[in-house]
Subunit: 543 residues, 2 copies
């Protein structure tokens, strides 16, 4: 934070700590509801006032049980009232809330719990079988708190009921905050497809600034009239900060719990009058299928924020044209808190012809104030924002990570830039489009070939279930593209049919040299294509 | 900032400095326009890219001329392109931009320039006669930069042309930022009606956080599609932060210069497609009068933010019902950066019956996230939020002042609260309503009488031009209200007629004991009733 000031302003200085979000809501939006679906489908209802009060009890119980500032407390939980309580109860006293993703493989969960050194694990009853499997391998865990979520699962090992633990220290309303704003508050591991998971350690300051920045019109834009449905899990990339930004704006929350199917989402939307929802594309595809089947509408919904992976054009069109919902495409990553860009139109893109505007809407968009983005070549040279030149996408700002938990090295370069690992273009309107992961690029004759673009072109073939493109070693060109195809059940095809489908869709020199048909393309725990496994098991055979 | 962290987050930490607002806009909204009206009525057009580039030249010239971090540079200027350049050019290098209000009396301007110790004064050509009068009494000023604003005024003393000064150090693009975020960046004196003006010294951090917080939906809510007309002057209470928040959001700016009459505002709105405007009530009353005369409309305008003084119900109704403009009533003061509350509806106030909703819309509203508000009695006891119990309104937060420039004492109490000097109620929806200035309250028999409520009740009498109510000493009750009336030109009336008008509008025991008719009620430089002068010159005679 550089030089000492010659002349300091005469303004109040309090630490920017996240407990203030809930405390603010508890005072000014005390009776505003937070509603959550139980596993059985019934609703639990609370208010910001009640949640703040219970979260302080939890803080008191954690302190009474020896949890110190800096200690890690893990959660294995879906989006519901007690998970929000837990976040604030843990963070408010300077401890670190480690959100564990229950969708990871057991060995990954064991790795990250041990790496984090979690002392307490709070788990939804639903996840007790999972806890039973991992617990013997997690020696740092001293206590399991079971969060009642309506599931009938029980444990054959020692547990404490979350609600009983909460009142175990009496009605002590533990004090919150009053520590340095750079104090760690949240820990979220990225489940990359290369190497071990890496822990992003959010600070109170970074989460505070992120939540404030995301409240801008062209990002989350919450108001005290809104009803927010965060369908993005709280264990996924900081839940896009919604557990902080919704109370800051005084918005009502409608939490889906574990019920993320189309019918459940639609019932929640209708019953609670949801105005805004956020989640990954597959959720909204499920919702659309349900609506098509039932003839349902989205009358109360004004806006859906789609992120996590690129939004299919058909999904965007259906939501906007058939259901009158404004779709905002956003991008970010665990390391960026996560919201970094959105494709909300500007005065300049609004004046484009319809077709160009549609193309614009599919890009990842422009950065949120507070973030710097740069497009650099391999030698660190700045590349033009011409919408054509791909480069390494670097990011800088208060809400971007500087390192990984217990990581040996800083992850920013000497100028403070973090390399996202993505390859992108930036156009003259300042809109970013991600064209590939850097490690998935194929370098042929010194030029880049985007594996994602070939995959996307291939996916419109009606016989294809999944397509993956990776580089294979080549004597003359260095690397050449290898296309791996998993056909839909019962289909059959030849290599020529696949390649001719690509004919007018990609540059001639991008055309895969080899096509290989497989029964199943390997997927990682998050559902993404696992190119690490493909490279290890399928490239040698083909080359 | 309290205790050192046990475990720090691993997030990037850069200082929160205001230069980033313009640098961000210059990169991501480079061609977005900033338009300003010249004195003659013609328009000057620029872009965020050009303004950032010129502001850095100005920084270079200031440094070359010996301006150091912490030095004060004053501006006497309306809202136009070069004033924005000047803010960033001065603040970007850690110097302090002191915005001088040209509407103050000469002796007040002389006082604050000397108190601030300004080294350079940048003045619109329009204000050269004013500068000629004050300059002999301002020994700290080394140089006058004349900003060309289309005015024909010239100086009979040594001046430098602003545009020539800007390029005087060559094309040095001075570096910005890289200092502690608590560094002072802006100085704005409050022109209270008691005592000498007091200087609020904003920090980079406070202005950065204020701008981010005001961008929320229920406050300024700017987007990259908006065209913003800040009709609140940049010398008035930090211009509500718009010189920071508009570039952060990538909004186009339409600056009115000195042309704030209804016809000029309307022309600017029509020509530039203004979507959002902000200013004091009298400006919009002028605009409405113009529209009524000409049959004009406000087709592009979505929202008008009204602050500075309470918004008359008739004005709000006309804008909303006759012109389809959403009106947002906001409140704040120089000491609070200034935005503190807005009356944007919540889910709970929206469900009120129409009449109650209208009453709600006239209140000052609920606080912006980041601010604490408290209602306390004279002994510091917390008062209920029942909408009836008046108390001292206290404020706490990152964007509130902790002291005055060169002031001996802190202006916050031991718990960090700043006393606004206002008396207010807070209702069950969390909406604040200011009922009086504390020093203008009349204390009768141990109970408070609101001078403002009596004045407002009186103002609906058709014969009255201005009414003022102050306390006069009373043996038995301590104080009793004295009503001072200035009738409209040519009108005459007796005391009884005045008092009977109040009959059903105020409590019986609030009825003024004495009515006094005067030719002119004394006004302060800001146009507000000067109760200090009234008390000094009119109370003794009446009592």
């Amino acid at each position: 934070m550089s030089r000492q000031p010659i002349l300091s302003g005469l303004m109040q200085q309090n630490a920017l700590t996240v407990d203030q979000f809930l405390s603010f809501a508890a005072q000014w939006h005390r009776d505003t509801e937070v509603v959550a679906r139980q596993v059985g489908g019934s609703s639990e209802r609370s208010t910001y006032g009640e949640i703040a009060s219970r979260a302080r009890l939890l803080s008191g119980a954690l302190l009474a049980n020896g949890i110190q500032p800096g200690d890690r407390v893990a959660t294995l939980a879906m989006n519901h009232i007690r998970h929000i309580e837990a976040w604030y109860g843990i963070m408010g006293i300077g401890a670190v809330c480690h959100t564990v993703n229950p969708r990871l493989f057991d060995e990954q969960i064991i790795y990250i719990i041990n790496h984090a050194g979690d002392r307490i694990l709070m788990a939804d009853a639903t996840f007790l079988p999972l806890v039973a499997r991992i617990l013997p391998h997690c020696p740092t865990i001293e206590r399991i708190l079971v969060i009642p979520d309506g599931s009938p699962e029980t444990a054959a090992f020692a547990t404490t009921d979350y609600d009983q633990f909460l009142v175990s220290a009496g009605d002590t309303q533990a004090p919150w905050g009053d520590f340095d704003e750079s104090t760690a508050c949240g820990l979220c591991y990225t489940s990359g497809t290369t190497g071990d998971p890496k822990g992003v350690l959010y600070s109170h300051r970074s989460n505070y600034l992120h939540a404030l920045a995301t409240l801008q019109h062209d990002f989350l834009n919450f108001s005290a009239q809104d009803v927010i449905l965060p369908a993005v899990p709280m264990f996924h990339a900081n839940a896009w900060g919604i557990a902080f930004s919704a109370p800051a704006a005084g918005s009502k929350l409608a939490l889906p719990g574990a019920r993320l199917d189309g019918a459940s989402l639609h019932r929640l939307i209708e019953e609670e009058g949801v105005t805004f929802a956020a989640g990954v594309p597959t959720l909204w595809q499920g919702l659309l299928q349900h609506l098509e089947k039932t003839g349902g509408t989205l009358a109360t919904v004004k806006r859906i924020l789609i992120g996590g992976s690129a939004c299919p054009p058909a999904l965007m069109r259906a939501l906007e044209d058939d259901y009158g919902v404004e779709v905002l495409h956003a991008w970010g990553m665990t390391e960026t808190s996560p919201v970094a860009t959105s494709n909300a139109p500007t005065r300049s893109t609004l004046s484009l012809p319809r077709e160009a505007r549609n193309a614009q809407a599919l890009k990842q968009g422009r950065p949120m104030f507070g973030l710097g983005l740069a497009l650099k070549d391999e030698d660190g040279g700045i590349l033009p924002h011409d919408g054509r030149t791909p480069g390494h996408l670097l990011i800088r700002g208060e809400t971007a990570a500087s390192g990984y938990f217990k990581g040996a090295a800083s992850i920013v370069d000497k100028d403070g830039w973090f390399d996202t690992g993505d390859i992108a273009t930036i156009d003259t309107h300042g809109f970013v489009q991600i064209t590939d992961r850097a490690k998935d690029l194929i370098k042929s004759g010194g030029e880049w070939i985007s594996s994602i673009e070939i995959e996307n072109a291939m996916m419109s073939h009606p016989k294809i279930a999944v397509a993956a493109v990776v580089g294979m070693p080549h004597d003359r060109w260095g690397e050449r593209p290898l296309l791996i195809v998993q056909l839909k059940m019962g289909e059959s095809a030849e290599a020529d049919e696949m390649l001719s489908h690509l004919q007018d869709k990609i540059a001639k020199w991008w055309m895969p040299d080899v096509v290989r048909f497989v029964d199943a393309i390997p997927l990682a725990a998050t559902g993404k294509i696992d190119k690490k496994v493909i490279r290890a098991t399928m490239v040698g055979a083909a080359a």
